[in-house]
């Protein structure tokens, strides 16, 4: 299906612009998610309209192009990754009664629990069906591995929900599963397309994994220290009972009295679905210079990433991925 458009529209010597990648990804998503049922059209429109920055398809496209993979394949693979991502977001949006008093996530607000689940299932099953028609066992392996890792990370996050004891190890496992997995998959798909036997150990997969980790940790940083850049309210992770790096770092430094304060705040958020003293939490972050420390960690990771990008074989995609990376993630101005 995507093939037809691709054959009609792509000149294999020309690298697509980011705008074109996004537009073509949307078209591919529209085609993969078929079905004439009223409710299917609604889901399709929602997924195409709520597209966000399409960072995953952009990453897939320029990373693959840097290794000489053709546009047609990359647009299809990027659309499939975006579909899996959207399905995971929808299922993450399902709420329990206990969570009703929190700010309801977009999906559940629009559709209601039941439709959100089935909408996610529809995305996943249509994506898998299309993938199966591509008849490439390595692609299938990468996608089934990724979907499993995503789900396991969601379950792990649920098990450690509002658990202030969450360790760095558990936190890292959740970040890897929930976010880095799909970026690593983008890199592994490039390796698979080039018939490399090393899928996850390939250079492109390792670059994807590091990119994904950086992407998530940067989000965790902004949530505490510059939420306006994410266009949302700050301390959402604290509010939602998710332990991230800034909180782990802080807990390692505070005295017993301050730890008790944080535990009380945490319990208040769990019970009431709002934060009692944002200023109190942030002043502790300031006291122990968590922002500067975490920013330093991120800067190191960023340097390693840029060094990795500088190794990409093709100059044009390498420059675009770097420019896009700097623009979207704003690494310079962190």
């Amino acid at each position: 299906m995507a093939c037809t458009t691709a054959r009609q529209g792509y000149n294999y010597t020309v690298l697509l612009s980011p705008q074109r990648v996004i537009a073509d990804t949307n078209k591919a998503i529209h085609k993969i998610l078929g079905g004439e049922l009223r409710i299917l059209k609604k889901i399709r429109e929602y997924v195409v309209a709520s597209g966000g920055k399409r960072i995953r398809p952009l990453f897939q496209y320029y990373l693959g192009a840097a290794y000489g993979v053709d546009s047609r394949t990359l647009i299809s693979l990027g659309a499939l990754i975006e579909i899996v991502h959207a399905a995971s977001l929808l299922h993450d949006d399902v709420v329990d009664n206990a969570d009703e008093r929190r700010s309801r996530p977009t999906g559940a607000k629009l559709f209601g629990n039941k439709q959100v689940v089935l909408a996610g299932d529809h995305l996943l099953s249509s994506g898998l069906k299309y993938l199966s028609s591509m008849n490439n066992p390595a692609y299938m392996q990468i996608f089934t591995d990724s979907i499993q890792a995503l789900t396991e990370a969601e379950l792990m996050q649920m098990q450690y929900h509002f658990d202030l004891q969450t360790s760095t190890k558990i936190h890292n496992a959740i970040v890897d599963g929930k976010t880095a997995t799909l970026f690593r998959a983008a890199g592994a798909l490039v390796a698979a397309h080039r018939k490399s036997a090393e899928l996850y150990a390939s250079e492109s997969a390792r670059l994807g994994l590091e990119f994904g980790r950086y992407f998530q940790e940067r989000d965790d940083y902004l949530d505490y220290f510059d939420a306006t850049r994410l266009k949302k309210k700050g301390l959402q992770d604290f509010l939602n009972g998710i332990v991230t790096q800034p909180l782990i770092l802080l807990l390692a430094h505070v005295n017993r009295h301050e730890r008790k304060f944080l535990a009380t705040e945490w319990e208040y958020a769990r019970r009431h679905g709002k934060i009692q003293s944002e200023a109190g939490i942030l002043s502790l972050m300031k006291k122990y210079t968590i922002q500067a420390f975490f920013a330093g960690e991120l800067a190191e990771r960023q340097t390693a990433l840029l060094a990795g990008l500088a190794q990409l074989p093709e100059k044009r995609p390498r420059e675009i991925i770097k420019a896009e990376f700097e623009k979207i993630l704003a690494v310079r101005t962190l």
Copy 2:
């Protein structure tokens, strides 16, 4: 994983007993659903413990054996079908707030919405990952087709929820998608294993489809006319806003006054989550002899099925599948 057990335990000349098929299917399910996380163990135990009659794996086993497929393959495929079925039941258990006052389904009662969704995702993703490792594109195609058909049928059922206008055509499409799909898949998998080019057009797939249709319609029959045999309360479909064959038949016969009565009952069930006058509905069924008419339809289908089973190539499995079919579905004593 299942392979090791299989190589150890199976004698290829011996047909397994139904008890053994169920026990081995449970073992295979346990192995496919790996993971050490506390919550994963809980899901695994739930799925193995709540197994029900395992009609799908039994059907897979004896149908496949009748075509000479080996036990090892059939146990794995049957376990995968059961896993997809269990995932679909779990996602079907997710409830909206509006539905809270109804009798809550088992899954949602035990786990809560959020866990139910992720538990279903875990089943599906683990099953797909295992399937991908089997490295058979035809199996993969059949499973992705089936999962998509299941989801589309769930969405269709949601769109026609409490819609008294639901036509026979829509009803049949829902039955095919929700129930017959996985029985058809069992038959198609047998054809795929035998390297037949005809997956869904094969004799075994067509037999599976008819079996699945019969199985569901029989459930719909019992829900109105002999619910004790299903070990549950009757008229659950009416209560849950699902139009099935008895109601379609009845609506085609009633006069304007009676139709209004049914519409009022229907609206009462929708609003209050209970049935106002079970006796009133059943006495209309009696007046228009819906039970006898529908029983006649089912008997015809049963005759066709038994004729199909009589054609199976291997005598032993053919006899067992017929005996099991008669025992589990109790066709003779309908």
